[in-house]
């Protein structure tokens, strides 16, 4: 199965998913509810990482499901349903980004990358990671969030990034090294300051 948009090869859908999609296309409400439950988190995460804003991401998530459900009959099964949903979501995000806004809001940095302290990571370290991430180019940040934080498959991330799977993996590898460099630079500066 190939996503013709990105040239991405996906494994064949399992028969359960195929049956579910067939029922969805026939207007079976239970299938609709199952698909919503299965994919709402991913659609939301996609919108959130593209828009950097929870409120907009929530609106787009609803719009994406509405559009998908309205156009269910046009889904030809040439890519997984999730891929199709993510393309709809990505297009809706682009539409929203093009819309003029009455009020320009600062990106929800604090919310977008809500840091967490843990046994592995102090609050100070978590904030340093957040700042390093913010300093990266947008496409690096996006691929890191999708692949390393959300733990998406590179094929799914490729759909969002509009790249081939191989190009997505290359981008991810470069992004990891850029993040490492940012962190090293930050800590080297701090060490130098402490030594003064």
């Amino acid at each position: 199965m190939i996503d013709h948009l990105t040239g991405t090869q996906f494994p064949p859908q399992d028969t359960h998913e195929q049956r579910l999609i067939a029922r969805f296309q026939q207007g079976d409400p239970e299938a609709l509810a199952t698909l919503y439950d299965r994919y709402v988190d991913r659609v939301f995460a996609c919108a959130y990482h593209l828009l950097n804003n929870r409120e907009d991401a929530e609106e787009v998530t609803i719009e994406a499901f509405l559009r998908a459900f309205e156009r269910a009959a046009t889904f030809r099964g040439e890519c997984p349903l999730l891929g199709w949903l993510l393309v709809i979501t990505r297009n809706l995000c682009r539409d929203r980004q093009r819309q003029p806004r009455l009020l320009t809001l600062e990106p929800e940095v604090a919310d977008r990358h809500a840091v967490r302290a843990s046994a592995l990571c102090s609050t100070e370290t978590a904030l340093a990671v957040q700042r390093a991430l913010e300093a990266l180019p947008e496409e690096y940040r996006l691929v890191l969030m999708l692949c390393d934080v959300q733990e998406w498959d590179a094929r799914e991330a490729a759909t969002i990034l509009h790249r081939s799977v191989q190009a997505t993996k290359s981008l991810l590898y470069r992004a990891r090294r850029a993040l490492r460099q940012q962190l090293q630079d930050t800590w080297n500066r701090e060490d130098a300051t402490d030594a003064m």
């Binding site: 409400p29 929530e58 459900f69 809500a114 990571c121 978590a126 934080v149």
Partner: protein, 99 residues
């Protein structure tokens, strides 16, 4: 195995996507080569720090409820005609409380 080959394969090694034999060759190289071992360790630490510091995003439970309600309201008239005849109390999007 040469250092540049190891560097090119480190991410796949980190993701445990290499065949066992190749992974073992890399491990053996990392035991002998301090520079590559440093490269591998810092790359892994960076990814672990990112995962430890930034939680994945998810819609809030209240959003899921609101979204389910809106979708249900919007979709009933537009879906397959058989839905219009159906008793909508028989199906619910997840997390929507029963009447």
């Amino acid at each position: 195995m040469r250092c540049n080959t190891v560097h090119a394969l480190l991410d796949l090694h980190l993701e445990q996507q290499l065949p066992e034999e190749l992974a073992q060759q890399i491990e053996r190289h990392l035991m002998r080569c301090a520079a590559c071992a440093f490269e591998a360790r810092t790359l892994e630490q960076t990814r672990n720090l990112l995962r430890a510091a930034i939680p994945p995003v998810a819609p809030s439970p209240s959003f899921r409820e609101r979204a389910a309600a809106r979708l249900q309201d919007a979709l009933v008239p537009h879906l397959h005609p058989r839905l219009e005849q159906a008793d909508t109390r028989q199906w619910r999007l997840p997390l929507l409380p029963e009447d």
